[in-house]
């Protein structure tokens, strides 16, 4: 009361009334149930709405900081349970409830929040994002979990049993309570920032939905989604499915299962590598054998086993032709020789010989005949001549002289008369057997 007037200022009165609200032990923290009215979500701001029931209505304000913790999205007409305090807003003179927390009435608020987040993330497609593949042979595994829980022990045990060469690095985190979500997110990001990890396991043991709630927080979900490292999530028991499980790349029912998913069995892998090598040798051996068989098969062809067959038929052909040529040579020679022999044999001088003999015969004959004919002619003439000579002989005048006649010739003239004579003439007296000379002594003419 700064003013001594009996009249109070509105401000003074209002302050007074406000004080009455503020110091009232009941109104300082009340639990109120009602329906949301005039609710219009103002993103990233204080929320102004009313709560009402059938008969009454109260204005409500929820500051941004408090509203951020609401795990579900309030809607008009929704029945809600709120906690808060009643106070007066001096500027409007209206009293209102300052809501600290709000959860849905009826079904569990956490469940509601879970369903709402799941729906939201589903709508965003977060669950459908491609899952990252887990490296089969992680060198370094980051584990975000409680430092003291059984989870890390189970994981360590399993990894050492299976694949002791993998380095496990624990990123200790609160896994329960209001700070847990932020802590988990921080460690997920931390592991990602360091970067030299192959796999990230987040996990905690079983518990109530409240216990597991951090893993249903949107920030955790988004941290998992944003993680560059593939995330194995193992939260609660197998029946519990947290949002973290849904967005993680792999979900494991138990921490042991998570470790088994994260690492192989070293001896198995060594064995496998050995087997691969063995298979390599066998496959190579087989390949060589098959190729050897192929080559051997080709080599078995008679082309290689009996290459002479390549030209044998030619040998026969050539030999045949050659033999035929030789036979033909003999044939031709014989034929020619026969022809020549035949003609040479037929070329006989016998005809000519015969002819000569005939001619000689004929010639001899002609000689005989010419001889005879000639002799005949001579003989005939001789006869004719002889006959004439005989006749002449008979007629010879000398024959008369043999009877004593003689004749006188003078100078070869027969002297027929004495008148032809003169004395002393020498005359010739011719006798038959000779002549005599005489001299005319006298002439006596008669």
């Amino acid at each position: 009361m700064e003013n001594s007037d009996q009249y109070l200022t509105v401000t003074a009165l209002t302050k007074y009334i406000k004080r009455k609200f503020d110091v009232d032990p009941y109104l300082g923290r009340i639990y109120l149930t009602g329906e949301l009215s005039n609710f219009r979500l103002r993103p990233n701001a204080h929320q102004y709405f009313s709560l009402k029931d059938d008969h009454a209505k109260i204005s409500a304000i929820m500051f941004k900081s408090a509203f951020e913790k609401v795990k579900f999205t309030p809607e008009e007409g929704m029945k809600v349970l709120v906690t808060g305090r009643i106070s007066l807003y001096e500027a409007s003179g209206s009293y209102q409830i300052y809501v600290d927390s709000m959860q849905p009435d009826g079904i569990g608020a956490l469940y509601q929040a879970y369903e709402q987040l799941k729906k939201k993330l589903t709508d965003e497609g977060l669950f459908d994002l491609p899952k990252k593949r887990l490296p089969m042979f992680p060198k370094r595994i980051a584990v975000v979990t409680s430092q003291s829980g059984a989870v890390i022990r189970d994981i360590i045990t399993t990894v050492q049993r299976r694949f002791p060469i993998a380095q496990i690095v624990l990123f200790p985190a609160l896994v329960q309570g209001d700070k847990a979500a932020a802590d988990i997110v921080k460690q997920i990001e931390h592991a990602n920032e360091i970067g030299n990890f192959d796999t990230l396991i987040i996990g905690r043991g079983g518990g109530s939905i409240e216990d597991l709630w951090p893993f249903n927080e949107e920030i955790v979900a988004r941290a998992i989604v944003d993680s560059q490292l593939p995330v194995i999530s193992s939260v609660g028991h197998e029946t519990d499915t947290t949002i973290a499980d849904l967005v993680a790349d792999v979900r494991a029912a138990t921490p042991t299962a998570a470790a088994e998913l994260a690492v192989p069995v070293l001896n198995d892998e060594l064995l496998k590598i050995n087997q691969y090598r063995q298979r390599l040798f066998q496959a190579m051996n087989q390949t060589i054998k098959i190729d050897q068989q192929k080559v051997a098969k080709v080599r078995e062809s008679y082309i290689f086993t009996q290459p002479t067959r390549l030209y044998e038929r030619y040998i026969q052909n050539v030999d045949l032709a050659k033999n035929r040529l030789e036979q033909l040579k003999d044939g031709y020679e014989q034929n020619w020789q026969q022809k020549v022999d035949l003609l040479t044999n037929r070329l006989s001088g016998r005809n000519i010989q015969q002819s000569i003999a005939n001619q000689q015969q004929q010639l001899a004959n002609l000689e005989v005949r010419i001889n005879q004919a000639s002799r005949t002619i001579i003989n005939n003439q001789r006869q004719s001549t002889a006959k004439l000579i005989a006749q002449l002989d008979n007629l010879s005048p000398l024959k008369i002289m043999s009877r004593g006649y003689s004749y006188v010739t003078l100078d070869k003239e027969v002297v027929k008369s004495v008148t032809q004579l003169t004395p002393n003439q020498t005359i010739k007296m011719n006798f038959e057997d000779g002549s005599a000379s005489a001299e005319i002594k006298e002439i006596n003419k008669e």
């Binding site: 360590i156 002791p164 993998a166 590598i273």
Partner: protein, 76 residues
């Protein structure tokens, strides 16, 4: 472990080589090369696994220091 090619990639390569060779239709020279590569890979892989040391679990503190972590056998 190799630098660029991860163990897993090498293993996959080895598996691929084995598969291919076992299918039998790889030309001989290529098969031989692959075979040699495969054997080499398998050796490398084996060496990698054989030579890797067993590790102790570490705890990453807020200062990015890895400190030895003794799993406390305490129930939650």
């Amino acid at each position: 472990m190799t630098e660029k090619v991860s163990f897993e990639e090498q293993l996959e390569k080895l598996q691929a080589i084995v598969s291919q060779l076992e299918q039998g239709d790889v030309p001989l020279e290529k098969a031989l090369t692959q075979f040699q590569d495969g054997v080499k890979l398998s050796k490398q892989l084996q060496d990698t696994l054989d030579n890797a040391e067993k590790t102790l679990t570490k705890l990453m503190d807020d200062n990015n220091q890895e400190i030895n972590f003794d799993a406390d056998p305490k129930e939650e």
